[in-house]
């Protein structure tokens, strides 16, 4: 019941959400001379470094692949989606603290804020992903219709990030250590996920433990789609999906119990 009411409340603030996403986008490049160029330059340089440097110069090869771009594609599909995850999580965690000024003075549904972060991060992800797809077309490695399999995987990833993000953001209002520790933990988390290395190089016991890492099957799914050009192993995604639902439920519970105190504490 509560969620239906709050969703309707959010709808009334759609102009605020859309406007905020637009403002954030503008603000990021405000005061620069080249403006839109930087929107593309940053992700493009990222893709080129990963693909050309690793593929061309270091001649890193992927086991079982002959294409010289194989490792570059492996790296990009993992890092671009991982960056989407960490950017969104990092901003979500601090979202109530950063907007204290607004929350104390204007009455509006607080959940607008994580939604703005999601939309804003998703917009940047779309630009990067778009460039990556163009790159894949250019080098002739575009996976075709398989690409649509990415959408459910992304949906799970966003739900997972949002659930974790809102939960931690609520706690962070009362214990600011949470925001600090997330930045540290994400560093370790990155290396506990097969983004730059192939999971096959891990000793079996380590692999068994790391399977509990919900980002593992998600990143693997992206690898399947982009590098192997096949559908991800759907059954591996049950775990992150259920975890995402649990986290969203937990976040909603924590938020609705504590939201009255958030403004008092800020």
């Amino acid at each position: 019941m509560i969620s239906i009411i709050s969703l309707r409340g959010l709808w009334a603030y759609r102009y605020f959400v859309l406007g905020s996403v637009k403002r954030e986008f503008q603000a990021r490049y405000q005061g620069t001379q080249l403006g839109v160029f930087w929107v593309i330059a940053h992700p493009l340089s990222l893709i080129l470094v990963y693909t050309l440097v690793f593929a061309g110069l270091m001649k890193s090869a992927m086991p079982g692949h002959t294409s010289r771009f194989a490792y570059g594609i492996y790296l990009c599909s993992g890092i671009l989606t991982w960056n989407f995850f960490t950017e969104m999580l990092g901003r979500c965690v601090n979202i109530f603290v950063e907007n204290a000024n607004l929350l104390k003075k204007v009455q509006f549904p607080k959940l607008c804020l994580p939604i703005i972060v999601t939309a804003s991060s998703a917009l940047h992800f779309c630009i990067v992903m778009g460039l990556f797809l163009i790159f894949l077309v250019v080098i002739g490695s575009f996976p075709g219709v398989i690409i649509f399999a990415m959408l459910p995987v992304l949906a799970i990833q966003i739900a997972l990030t949002l659930g974790l993000g809102i939960f931690l953001a609520t706690i962070n209002v009362f214990f600011r250590d949470v925001g600090q520790s997330v930045a540290v933990i994400v560093q370790f988390w990155f290396w506990l996920t097969p983004v730059v290395y192939a999971p096959t190089i891990l000793p079996p016991f380590a692999a068994r433990i790391l399977e509990w890492n919900p980002m593992w099957p998600l990143i693997n799914a992206y690898h399947d789609i982009f590098l192997e050009q096949r559908l991800p192993a759907w059954h591996t995604l049950w775990y992150p999906m259920l975890l995402a639902l649990v986290l969203v439920a937990l976040a909603m519970r924590a938020f609705s119990r504590l939201q009255a105190e958030i403004v008092d504490e800020l």
């Binding site: 009334a12 603030y13 102009y15 605020f16 406007g19 905020s20 403002r23 503008q26 603000a27 405000q30 000024n101 607004l102 929350l103 104390k104 003075k105 204007v106 009455q107 509006f108 009362f174 214990f175 009255a260 105190e261 403004v263 008092d264």
Partner: protein, 405 residues
């Protein structure tokens, strides 16, 4: 539409002895906090079209109450019912984002009120014209002066006439020109039926804009009624508070050594301010008051003179005189005699503000000759606006005749 009903509202903040207590509570392990009440059982009703002033010293709970009425904070007890759209200027600004330009912030504020871009575009020009901040509208808000922020915030909040307008001290930051302009707009809204809830320390603004006042003190409603009466009560209250603070201050500084000096051959026992024969610490300008000084003579003194000195809030001398200058110094009281001197002011033509009275006992015309007792800031009192509209600004009202030539 436009009414506000506040019923038995109380607000308490949770105070934890140790932060970890909060985690224990989340896990369902007992209670680890105590409640710090900042508002107690506040009830009042505001009807549509009313203009209410909320007054009270800093920290009395006015802002918390406004936050509860606007909905940003929730009451711990009781309920608030609001009929109609609220536009609120709480403290400085409206939650402006410092990195966004003024224009972007205008859009953000308007979108928070549910307007879409084309609707905002329609009133953007009005907002710019009213704020009069020129090119700054396209600069980041962090480069604004506080006055400019208030100009923009007020212009946005009042771009569309709200049913309820809440203004929290914010306007005092603006310059006189903008204050006039915004008061004109508030007045125009009132005529069209907007309910006003106004927090201010400016008695003039309260009297001209509001038809009722509520005095909040230590989280409770201390007085409610016509603005004049409530302001008088309030001024008396702060004067009392200031006096006791000043006395405490002087005691902390080493007591009589600082505020009292002299040989103490004669000693001031009591200083009082009387209006209609009754002790008061707040008088309206141009009223008839008496400063009464009573003392006792301990040792033989010659030509005892009693002097008073009025100082303003900043310590500037405003007016001083003594019995010698008024040819009544031929007093040679005997040892053990008590004495009383009344300084009667038939028309206390002082400007608004708080004043202190310093009293001295000495020989002949100046206290340098032979000072018996000198009591710094023996009494603090406030001058409140006169019944009729005041015709002057500044510290005192000089006799003047004005004519076109």
């Amino acid at each position: 539409m436009g009414h506000i009903r506040v019923r038995n509202v109380g607000k308490a903040y949770k105070r934890y002895h140790r932060k970890i207590g909060r985690v224990a509570e989340w896990c369902g392990m007992g209670t680890h906090h105590e409640l710090k009440w900042v508002l107690h059982d506040i009830s009042f009703e505001i009807n549509a079209g009313d203009a209410i002033a909320l007054i009270g010293v800093n920290g009395a709970g006015k802002s918390t109450l406004l936050k509860i009425i606007t909905g940003t904070a929730r009451p711990t007890r009781g309920a608030v019912e609001v009929g109609g759209r609220i536009a609120a200027l709480l403290e400085l600004g409206m939650g402006f984002h410092p990195d966004f330009t003024g224009r972007q912030n205008v859009y953000m504020a308007a979108q928070l009120h549910g307007l879409n871009s084309s609707e905002i575009g329609a009133c953007m020009q009005d907002i710019e014209n009213f704020a009069e901040i020129g090119d700054y509208i396209d600069q980041p808000v962090r480069t604004y002066s506080s006055g400019m922020q208030v100009r923009l915030a007020f212009s946005v909040a009042t771009a569309v006439r709200p049913e309820i307008l809440i203004v929290d001290e914010a306007l005092s930051v603006g310059d006189a020109y903008f204050q006039h302009k915004s008061f004109d707009r508030i007045r125009a809204f009132r005529e069209q039926g907007t309910t006003l809830l106004f927090v201010s320390h400016d008695p003039g603004a309260v009297k001209t804009l509001c038809n009722r006042a509520i005095l909040i003190d230590q989280g409770r409603i201390a007085q409610e009624g016509a603005p004049d009466e409530v302001l008088d009560y309030y001024n008396a209250m702060i004067a009392r508070k200031q006096t006791s603070e000043l006395i405490e201050q002087s005691e902390q500084l080493g007591g009589s050594k600082i505020t009292r000096s002299g040989s103490h051959r004669a000693v001031i026992e009591e200083v009082d301010l009387l209006f209609n024969g009754v002790t008061t610490r707040a008088v309206s300008s141009h009223s008839a008051v008496v400063v009464r000084v009573r003392g006792i003579v301990h040792e033989a003194v010659e030509e005892l003179t009693v002097g008073i000195l009025l100082r303003d809030r900043l310590g500037n001398d405003v007016f001083g005189t003594n019995t010698f200058h008024h040819y009544s110094s031929s007093q040679h009281p005997a040892v053990g005699d008590a004495f009383q001197v009344d300084f009667a002011f038939p028309d206390l033509a002082l400007g608004l503000g708080s004043y202190s009275i310093t009293v001295a006992l000495h020989k002949r015309d100046a206290h340098v000759a032979d000072s018996y007792d000198w009591w710094d800031r023996a009494l603090v009192f406030a001058v409140t606006p006169a019944e009729r509209a005041s015709s002057f600004v500044g510290v005192c009202n000089l006799p003047v005749s004005v004519a076109w030539k």
